[in-house]
């Protein structure tokens, strides 16, 4: 099966998942105890006129399935309406925060791979030697360190104690030297645990592959050790790493929520926490939904990447 057909088929399976995710997000308003209008306005006192207006805007008088479909129609066109709490356009609010999270996420993801992949390979080929033990311990420490705590400690050392960076983000455009300087700490914080996971995974899958018969056969064919490791073992081992990349993306988003809070980074995670504090359900809905869609899309990409690396997957279905 060609890679394009595989991608299309795989994308088709994402549709019911996305529908389910939207349904779950939609139901937030109803799952919260209390009248939907009260939920929407964060249990503030509202006059009957506003109440009626909100009922009309959110189609609260219609049957549930109609409400869902109407809401879905708006969501697909990125029309989330205004927040009853802040009065600002929800879609715009979310969109303004998105680049910050993407920037932080991409930077951390890249950093964690840049650290984790070579370290994992090194540990695998130096099995049982000091380099292996050291990377094992480093990975264990990295996984066990809660990111919010690591962030606080880094903040204390580099911002409070040494004064090298600011405690809060500078008032500068996202793409600027000041911002890049500031984003180093959050990136390191977020990347640490992920790098540890990648290292362990890379090590274990490299080890597993190194024990396979084709490795022995490749050596028997007289290939250079470098070729055996980098061309054969690494490519086979990377399928395992790519497989969990989906999990990594979810992990990255989870981490971002916390790390953004530590560093007051104005991203999606921070928005989510702020909105919960403000009881701004419409913004919570929009951000959670956007995160879910991004996660599903990322998983889709991961599966396609997997199929490119491993020909067996393409032919499987």
């Amino acid at each position: 099966m060609s890679i394009i057909r595989y991608t299309l088929r795989r994308a088709l399976t994402a549709v019911p998942v996305l529908l389910g995710a939207t349904a779950i997000t939609f139901s937030f308003v109803y799952l919260t105890p209390g009248d939907p209008v009260d939920v929407l306005v964060g249990f503030d006192h509202v006059d009957p006129e506003t109440r009626a207006a909100l009922r009309a805007e959110y189609n609260l008088d219609r049957p549930l399935w109609q409400q869902y479909l109407l809401w879905l129609g708006d969501v697909v066109t990125f029309e989330f309406g205004e927040s009853p709490i802040t009065g600002r356009d929800v879609g715009e609010t979310v969109a303004s925060r998105l680049p910050h999270t993407v920037a932080l996420g991409v930077a951390s993801w890249t950093l964690s791979l840049a650290i984790g992949v070579p370290l994992g390979i090194l540990a695998a080929i130096k099995q049982g030697q000091p380099a292996d033990e050291a990377s094992r311990i480093a990975a264990l420490v990295g996984i066990a360190t809660p990111n919010f705590w690591l962030g606080l400690v880094l903040l204390f050392v580099f911002a409070v104690h040494l004064g090298w960076v600011r405690v809060t983000p500078p008032d500068a455009p996202l793409v600027s030297l000041e911002m890049a300087w500031f984003v180093i700490l959050p990136t390191v914080t977020l990347a640490t645990a992920l790098a540890a996971i990648v290292t362990r995974l890379m090590r274990s899958s490299m080890r597993r592959e190194l024990d396979r018969e084709y490795v022995r056969a490749a050596r028997a064919r007289g290939l250079r050790e470098r070729t055996v490791i980098l061309k054969h073992v690494l490519r086979n081992a990377s399928t395992a790493v790519v497989t969990v990349a989906g999990l990594q993306i979810a992990f990255l988003v989870d981490g971002a929520v916390v790390v953004e809070h530590v560093f007051s980074w104005p991203g999606m995670g921070q928005l989510l926490v702020e909105s919960i504090g403000r009881r701004d359900v419409s913004v919570v809905q929009a951000s959670v939904l956007l995160i879910a869609v991004a996660t599903v899309a990322a998983n889709l990409l991961v599966d396609v990447a997997y199929a490119i690396i491993d020909p067996r997957i393409r032919h499987d279905r």
């Binding site: 019911p16 996984i143 066990a144």
Partner: protein
């Protein structure tokens, strides 16, 4: 060469059989002891050792090249798998070290303050010891924001509460949330996963679609959303972590069950008319549960971290509770003023516990021969 080929196969050895039959007495015993099929099976197991480490292969050598010897494979068969795993776990020093840390932290959490149970006017003291020098919630037992000293080894927080006592007692919240949330999630995930894998059909589809949909949300984001809906508090946090936690177990167990249902002994049991409930409970689940146990152990660590993260974001337990994460939430502003001790000690407690859990989990992984990266494969 050709001539030989035509003769081959027509060679008969005379005399050997007769000798063998006179020696049978000895021969039969060994033969009955280890029938041929048995050895073939262990051979195949060993051949599979490279691709799928299992407890059996690990104990007989790690390479396909290890001589396929019947005897060592047989010793494994006679020893029970659980015993073998326990033996392997016990010989793993770092894992035991981790287990010791978990035990000490749990014990400290229990004896930190007396445990009392009041009902109908009577108060029964279940645990009289009080390791913590102060009541964790008592204000102004020392000066506010004081650094570590002899009287207050971990210092005090903004309200003058003793941080040492708070960290000790805080283990009660964090550890019990971790244990409870994982146990309850297992109670949901194992039956659903087993049913999905064993029954199949629309039931499987339905369960796995729900799992897929919930998997669309990152773990912590979903937990945050649930807490946002149901509100803060101990049981609400546990609830949120169970809703997000059972997915992994269900998916993992379903995958294992699917591979076990294919095996001959399940087919045989089915053919013999053994009730499905019995097959599932006796044969399928016990054989499938090992990777789930490993995952669950490791998850105790991530659930404790997640609970602390919720506390840190101000979404977990009520602010002011002596829970490790919630203590860190107050720590940020203290830290910016330079009071490092407010964050360092609760954080170190989380770190220590999660590290220990990971050591235990890794030990279990080795002992039970579970595989990495299986989690996503359940589909």
């Amino acid at each position: 060469m050709n001539e030989q080929t035509t003769r081959r196969g027509r060679i008969r050895i005379d005399g050997l059989e007769e000798h063998l039959s006179s020696d049978r007495a000895d021969g039969d015993r060994t033969d009955a002891d280890r029938p041929g099929d048995h050895r073939d099976a262990s051979d195949r197991q060993m051949a599979a050792a490279n691709t799928r480490p299992s407890a059996t292969s690990a104990s007989t050598g790690r390479s396909t090249l290890t001589p396929r010897d019947g005897t060592s494979a047989r010793t494994v068969h006679s020893r029970s798998r659980l015993e073998e795993s326990w033996r392997r776990f016990r010989s793993n020093r770092t894992a035991l070290f981790g287990l010791a840390i978990v035990a000490v932290l749990s014990a400290v959490a229990i004896v930190a303050r007396p445990v009392e149970f009041s009902t109908m006017g009577y108060t029964i003291t279940l645990q009289p010891f009080s390791l913590a020098p102060y009541d964790p919630n008592e204000l102004s037992v020392g000066p506010p924001n004081a650094g570590p000293s002899l009287a207050h080894p971990f210092g005090t927080d903004w309200a003058g509460r003793d941080l040492f006592s708070r960290v000790l007692v805080g283990g009660r919240y964090s550890l019990s949330i971790g244990a409870l949330a994982v146990a309850l999630a297992l109670c949901v995930g194992i039956p659903l996963g087993a049913i999905a894998g064993y029954v199949g059909g629309w039931l499987d589809e339905a369960i796995m679609r729900i799992v897929d949909m919930l998997y669309a949300f990152p773990f912590l984001v979903l937990a945050i959303a649930i807490v946002a809906i149901v509100g803060q508090g101990y049981w609400n946090v546990v609830f949120a972590l169970v809703v997000t936690g059972w997915l992994t177990y269900a998916r993992l167990l379903r995958g294992e069950v699917l591979s076990i249902v294919e095996t001959d002994y399940v087919a045989a049991s089915r053919a013999l008319g053994t009730p499905h409930r019995t097959i599932l409970a006796r044969h399928v689940v016990p054989n499938a549960v090992a990777p789930v146990i490993v995952q669950a152990t490791l998850n105790v660590g991530s659930v404790v971290t997640a609970a602390a993260a919720l506390g840190f974001l101000g979404l977990g337990l009520e602010p002011g509770t002596a829970e490790w994460g919630a203590m860190l939430a107050q720590g940020r502003s203290a830290l910016l003023r330079g009071n490092w001790h407010v964050t360092v000690f609760p954080g170190a407690a989380i770190f220590l516990f999660v590290l220990a859990i990971n050591l235990v989990g890794d030990g279990l992984t080795d002992a039970l021969g579970s595989r990495d990266g299986r989690e996503r494969r359940g589909r």
